[in-house]
């Protein structure tokens, strides 16, 4: 009922309030595109939750640097493998939660157990601990050993996404007042309207400039962008390329998403490699850049960005060669492949701005190369039925358009799901590829890199499982009164501590 009151009072006491004054103060307002409806730290891998919670309220043991400087210490100061399947983490001393309790090894153990609890379904668990058995031991107050089965060579990287909560946090339900070690305190949540964070004066690290941050939610990107223009807000971390019209305030950043079309290699005529090659040759990728997609998108050769371990530099962007595409198609036809079957392009509505236009243009290009193709756009849940297994038995030949997000620097998050026979979203069934992925997942160091590189070659050149399109960019609008540089990490977090005032 508090809301009823505030709503009525808000209407009644109108004269008492005035338009927000934005000048000299040290508060910022951030516009998110989707309402934040849960704030539990264990949901921080959901991007709108992460932008509020991650590294502001709750911190993680490790942090992935966004300027290519690898894994950095956060709540852990050092880590090392003890044996094949165990890692030892040394924790930062003299850290306090915002409720005053001290941070120690028990909190780390409790947090990971809570994340994997069977009472609540945490995104972080699904994302980072799927298929892993975890056991933990506190060696002393500031040392913890984590053992996984099977062995997880990139455990420290995984833990860069796992938020730490104090021991005793309710593990049977999502909490609504998160407590963390971060530079900000979760101080107010007016459901549906805003979330307010205030600076934590007992923070272990440097004191940031921003004193408080208000998060508001606007699903219409044009409205969100307008709010910065009128001074009602300071940052829109994610907006449409269409609204990025002011070079002084609008910055593009690689948003770690890669746009591609997955080819179903099991259904004729797509089970013929020549047909799959022809599809790739039919697309004029250059035509999209700076027209319906941003100037800054990078044509992709594989579905992970170049900063990923094992990204294969030898793969070339497919040239636009409709002649050759037609020739390949005729060749396949001559060999009895039924190339006239209608191929269905399956798009996901609102996947990114302009996705419909992009799909329509791709359809026209594919048709120009002599294919019989059609396009359907689906909303996310229907689209999921096409994208994830189990696939329908009588499905026709399908090209499913998707974006893949891998900002973690290791392709293990990608390869199993997309290319293993048992992967949830894989439409390729190849024994050699399966064993390559299995080997690479268990390998470390140079061997790991070489194996991933080989796997990418098999996927992109030997089999041709996708039509890789672009590494995409996002746009952020930042008010002129503050300094904030959006980076690849802006897709999943927004560290208030990185903001300074002009």
């Amino acid at each position: 009922m508090r809301n009823l009151n505030s709503c009525l009072i808000g209407a009644a006491l109108v004269t008492m309030t005035a338009m927000p004054v934005m000048a000299q103060d040290r508060n910022v307002t951030i516009v998110l595109g989707e309402e934040v409806d849960v704030v539990d730290p264990c949901m921080s891998s959901r991007s709108n939750v992460g932008r509020v919670i991650l590294h502001n309220v709750s911190e993680t043991l490790t942090e992935l640097g966004d300027q290519g400087d690898g894994l950095m210490p956060r709540l852990a100061t050092a880590w090392e493998p003890v044996d094949e399947d165990t890692w030892r983490f040394t924790l930062r001393p003299d850290v306090q939660f915002s409720d005053g309790t001290a941070f120690d090894a028990e909190d780390v153990i409790y947090s990971i157990e809570r994340t994997n609890s069977d009472q609540i379904v945490c995104d972080n668990s699904a994302k980072y601990f799927g298929g892993l058995e975890v056991s933990m031991e506190a060696i002393d107050d500031l040392t913890v050993e984590i053992t996984t089965s099977p062995a997880q060579p990139i455990l420290p990287l995984l833990l860069s996404g796992v938020t730490v909560v104090p021991t005793g946090t309710d593990a049977s339900a999502f909490i609504t007042e998160p407590v963390g070690t971060g530079p900000y305190i979760f101080s107010e949540w007016n459901i549906g309207q805003n979330i307010i964070l205030t600076r934590n004066d007992n923070y272990w690290g440097e004191t940031p400039e921003v004193e408080s941050a208000t998060y508001v939610f606007r699903s219409d990107a044009a409205v969100a962008a307008a709010m910065v223009e009128t001074g009602e807000a300071d940052i829109v971390p994610s907006m449409s390329v269409l609204d990025a019209t002011n070079p002084a305030t609008d910055f593009s950043y690689p948003n770690s998403e890669t746009f591609f079309l997955r080819i179903d290699t099991d259904v004729a005529p797509l089970n013929d490699r020549r047909v799959r090659e022809a599809l790739n040759l039919a697309i004029d990728r250059e035509a999209f850049q700076g027209t319906i997609l941003a100037e800054g998108v990078i044509p992709a050769t594989q579905i992970v960005p170049p900063s990923t371990l094992g990204w294969n530099p030898d793969l070339q962007v497919w040239p636009y060669d409709p002649e050759r595409a037609r020739a390949l198609l005729e060749e396949a036809r001559a060999d009895g492949v039924d190339v006239d079957t209608e191929i269905n392009l399956i798009g996901r509505s609102n996947n990114f701005p302009n996705v419909t236009e992009v799909m329509e243009v791709m359809l026209a290009m594919i048709q120009d190369a002599g294919f019989n193709a059609s396009l359907r756009m689906y909303d996310v849940s229907e689209w999921e039925d096409f994208y994830s297994k189990p696939f329908a038995g009588d499905r026709g030949p399908q090209l499913v358009a998707a974006q893949h997000d891998n900002a973690k620097g290791d392709p293990v998050f990608t390869m199993f799901f997309k290319y293993h026979s048992e992967g949830l979203q894989g439409a390729v069934w190849d024994d050699r590829l399966d064993s390559l992925i299995d080997q690479a997942t268990a390998a470390t160091g140079d061997e790991r890199e070489a194996l991933w590189r080989e796997a990418f070659r098999v996927v992109g050149e030997e089999i041709i499982t996708d039509i890789p399109m672009f590494h995409m960019v996002g746009f952020a609008r930042v008010s002129a009164r503050i300094n904030f540089q959006p980076t690849i990490a802006t897709n999943s977090e927004l560290q208030l501590a990185q903001i300074t005032f002009n």
């Binding site: 609204d243 027209t291 419909t356 243009v361 026209a364 689906y378 909303d379």
Partner: protein, 301 residues
């Protein structure tokens, strides 16, 4: 010597009465042009409406530079706006017309029954309408279109169903009012059958109100379809309707206003024409009011 008015053929009569109301005349002419282009336009322009041309995207309107087809400009992937509007007009008009027609027929029939039968039947019908009305039509459409595919048929179905209660309740309200009037009471006393009373006395009194609502509903349906497109669950591309075009053009409002403007204008002009027509029809269909147009004719003669 006073001229004795001879009964004229119906069409001539309509023509004369239309000439008396220039606004309605404009509306009718617009609607006829629209209907013709909706039927024949797509045959010639299908290709121009679907073939992207990224080099000629967002070409501004009102210039013959890119050929007459692109006179209204091109959209975000370089397709002719003119061709797209004409191709979209077919879907749009089909959806709106069929939905409104179905809703009006069912709603009117049920309303007459509800207003002129036993309280029990009447109650049953009204509670049925309440069920539909107690759930906002747009949300009902969202749920149904979510479950079924957002095809044109399903869209028509759900839009029609959600509009039925409006006609039903209006008809019933009018019936309740009309049946107490003197001439209906007189007919009852003189032993006219129920059927005759409804068809001869009540229906003609109800129809003008219903038509006013129907023409506005035509707009409502176009706009509801547009809102569904805005929410992303209406007609799915590559199919097009005006509503979808407005929804797709909205993000370009600042850079290329014509993307949302022309289809929006098409919706507005169509709605206005229908409305002007309905104002005229109201007068022309109402025996008490018709003299206004007839006087107009005589003074024009």
């Amino acid at each position: 010597m006073p001229e004795i008015a001879e009964p004229r053929p119906l069409l001539v009569q309509i023509y004369r009465m239309l000439m008396a109301d220039k606004f309605a005349l404009c509306g009718v002419i617009f609607l006829i042009i629209l209907a013709v282009s909706a039927i024949f336009g797509p045959i010639f322009l299908e290709d121009a409406a679907t073939r992207p041309n990224l080099r000629g995207r967002n070409a501004p309107p009102l210039s013959m530079e890119n050929g007459w087809v692109n006179f209204l400009g091109t959209d975000s992937v370089g397709r002719s706006m003119l061709a797209r509007i004409l191709v979209a007009s077919r879907n749009t008009l089909q959806i709106s017309f069929i939905s409104v027609f179905v809703a009006l027929s069912i709603g009117c029939a049920l309303g007459l029954i509800a207003g002129y039968s036993t309280p029990r039947t009447s109650n049953l019908i009204l509670r049925g309408a309440d069920i539909i009305m107690s759930f906002p039509s747009l949300l009902l459409a969202v749920i149904v279109l979510y479950m079924l595919e957002p095809s044109i048929f399903n869209l028509v179905l759900v839009l029609a169903i959600t509009r039925v209660p409006v006609y039903l309740r209006t008809t019933r309200a009018e019936v309740l009012e009309v049946r107490e009037r003197m001439f209906v009471q007189a007919a009852v006393v003189m032993g006219a059958s129920k059927r005759r009373i409804i068809l001869r006395h009540i229906l003609p009194m109800v129809i003008p109100t219903l038509i006013t609502i129907a023409t506005l509903d035509f707009a409502f349906v176009m706009l509801a379809e547009s809102s569904l497109s805005f929410l992303g669950i209406g007609i799915q591309p590559p199919d097009i309707t005006w509503g979808l075009m407005v929804a797709q053009g909205r993000p370009y409002l600042v850079q290329a206003w014509w993307l949302a403007f022309w289809p929006g204008l098409a919706i507005i002009l169509t709605t206005m024409s229908l409305n002007l027509l309905s104002i005229w029809m109201r007068t022309a269909l109402d025996p008490v009011q018709r003299w206004r147009l007839e006087i107009g004719r005589k003074t024009n003669d």
